[in-house]
Amino acid sequence: MALLEVNGLKVHFHTRDGLVKAVDDVSFSVDCGETLAIVGESGSGKSVTCYSLLDLLPKPPAKIEGGTAVFDGIDLLTCDAAQMRRFRSNDIAMIFQDPMTSLNPFITVGEQLIEPLIYNPDKSRRQTRPDARMRAIELLDEVGIIDPEKRFDCYPHEFSGGMRQRVMIAMALINEPRLLICDEPTTALDVTIQAQILALIKTLQQKRNVAVIFISHDLGVVAGIADKVVVMCEGTVRETNDADGIFYRTQDDYTKKLLAAIPEGPKVMQSRAQADSTMIQVSNLKTYFRDHSKASIGAAKNYIKAVDGVSLQIQRGEILGLVGESGSGKSTLGRSILQLAPITEGSVSFDGTELNTLTPKQLVPWRRKMQMIFQDPYASLNPRMTVYETLAEPLLYHGLAHSKNIDQQVQLLMDDVGLARASLRKYPHEFSGGQRQRIAIGRAIATKPELIIADEPVSALDVTIQAQVLDLILNLVERHNLTMLFISHDLSVVRYISDRVVVMNKGVIIECGDTEALWANPQQQYTQQLLKAIPLADPKSERLRMADS
């Protein structure tokens, strides 16, 4: 008998728009010392499945319609609230996706860590404050927090994202749970930090012999740590197998689709760069921001050097990848080139014209020539404008269409980005993430630009959608003769799409070169680390790498 056995779980949501079968007849089991990965795209019901185990779903609208989830002989779905509390505090722990929001910013990290110990519902298991403190410091040390005694009294904002996730892991482990549920624990983290956290979860699990349920949308991430994989789609299980079986002897078509969508390997399309024609010339660009957090009256002004002396060229027709971890200044560099962020020093020229010397009015015709695609398709569209309005606005403003042919122009744009003409009257919230990104791309190409700066355009999307949008971008680049600066933290995506790559860290360029040359032979240590941290959808090599680290 396994530690947790879920059988025929059904969770339905009764919403205004009717019944949604979020989880429909899902079964799996996980045993001590075993890692089960639940993989699926957004809306597949993978998170709902796990939330229902801990009774964390909002009821209503959610309702558990059937099934059992037997943990250690007791059904989690029918046990009473007191029993559930005991399970939550002693036996089952959870790590959430976003470490930035899962810690209370007003309480010190240490205080949050010892809460489960000193307020344990089992009075017999409660510990005194000094004991709890000792235990917490031990654990902080174990999850790799340096100088844990001091850090114990720090507030969450004094930790970086990766460190906060380590604290979350420590908090989850503090009561020695037997089952650990990780809900996309590395999705919000940089690739090098992701590799560290994955290795940490793996070692802690082996040492403590706990069962782990690892939820992810990315098959590549789970390849190294999963023993068993459940692939979910639209509330149902598509395939259950051990990791090798899923990756090497794939049965289900949907799993095959997921695996195929992972961007891997070099770019297929020929480079269209025109070697002798420089479009954008960035010289010694510096963009500093005032740091308000440390500013005090009378003190010298503090600056955050987001971009600190960057020089680069973008050739006409090429796709230049810009890679860096969060905080590397890559987005700021993109915005500085577009004159959306104020430049402190240096210059940006477009076909020989120095953009940073122009007045806002003089810039308007240049703005038509360079457009931006943003990361978050949920935030980059005005929620109160229909698609029609969003797409018509740039056309009318720049005089590219007039009131007679505007309808037709907008429809052509919709065709261009692969959206149905019939949905012109809809508002952004009525579309899925991928469709929204298509709208945003449509808006960017509406002005017939020459340069497009794409800031993480596929990071917020599911893998299969990501592949479609990448292909759309490549297609549009070819058809409309675009030049592109493609900013991303995801190296596989950058390799798939760009001709040349620039690696950035802490505001400066570390390395730059043709994509394949750089991949084959990275010169700088930082680049080597980055490349090594890329998760591959290959369990054998991933396991080897984990054993190494």
Binding site: R16, S380, R384, E389, H398, H402
Partner: protein, 293 residues
């Protein structure tokens, strides 16, 4: 080249407002509120012709009589017909409510949007001005105005509007500051749209929710403010009346002649209900994220 063609696009009916109207028509409660408001406004407009008595017509033999067939809502202590006085009072109250709120709305939204959008020093200066006006004791401000300009109804609108816009400006500024950092505003900026068009088309429509709610709360509070000012002798004077004044006098004689308080009170409450239902309906209708049916 630009703003005109953008406006014609809005006229072609893909606009937020058209969709809002379609949604509002399906909201029965909001329609009831709207209907009631229109009814109250019509009655007020037509009062000089349809009122059963003159507003200063006294019948001293009939002083303070309860509702009867002759005087549906009774009479006040001077024997004036209450229905007539409430109808005349509604003219003043509704006018003050709507005009002063419109003034506050116009100034507050534009001022707050500009301050929040431009930010930095401009914002600091603009907001300090708001703070100063906030700090100025309202009574002294009004009395000063009265001393300088004398007493008239227009001044009353101006005075109330001048005070009520402050809160509106603060609410809008807060909203705008968070909107300004959103990517769709940056996208509009990178399209090269002018600042004013960005504020008008991308920022202000997204602040409508709180603004509408606050507006529906402002109208009744403005009506009561008018009563307060009139009570002090700064607003309108008897024998003219307003709902606020009638309620004030009604309170004094509440125990002997309760109808003098109840009926103007009902008139004010009805307006308030109607406004709140309409306001809620409008807020939902103007938010495309609420479902269409």
């Amino acid at each position: 080249m630009d703003s005109n063609s953008l406006d014609t696009m809005a006229e072609k009916g893909t606009s937020l407002w058209e969709d809002a109207w379609i949604k509002l028509r399906k909201n029965r409660l909001a329609l009831m509120g709207l209907g009631l408001l229109i009814f109250l406004c019509l009655v007020s407009l037509l009062t000089p012709w349809i009122a059963p008595y003159g507003y200063e017509e006294q019948d001293l033999l009939m002083g303070a009589t309860p509702p009867s067939a002759e005087h549906w809502l009774g009479t006040d202590v001077f024997g004036r017909d209450m229905l007539t006085r409430i109808m005349w009072g509604g003219r003043v109250s509704l006018m003050v409510g709507f005009i002063a709120t419109a003034v506050a709305l116009a100034i507050g939204v534009i001022y707050g949007a500009v301050a929040g959008y431009v930010g930095g020093r401009v914002d600091a200066v603009m907001m300090r001005l708001v703070d100063i006006l906030y700090a100025l004791p309202f009574m002294i401000f009004i009395i000063l105005l009265m001393v300088v300009f004398g007493r008239n109804l227009l001044l009353l609108f101006f005075a109330i509007g001048a005070v009520e816009w402050l809160t509106m400006a603060r609410i809008v500024r807060g909203q705008v500051m968070s909107l300004r950092k959103q990517e769709f505003v940056e996208a509009a900026h990178s399209l090269g749209l002018s600042q004013w068009i960005i504020i008008r088309r991308h920022i202000i429509p997204n602040t409508l929710g709180p603004v509408i709610v606050y507006t529906t709360l402002t109208i009744p509070s403005v009506m009561l403010l008018e009563a307060f000012l009139s009570f002090l002798g700064l607003g309108i004077q008897p024998p003219q009346s307003s709902w606020g004044l009638l309620i004030n006098y009604g309170v004094e004689t509440m125990e002997e002649y309760p109808w003098l308080l109840i009926f103007p009170g009902i008139a004010l409450s009805l307006t308030l209900f109607a406004l709140n239902f309409l306001g809620d309906g409008l807020r939902d209708a103007l938010d495309p994220r609420t479902s269409k049916d």
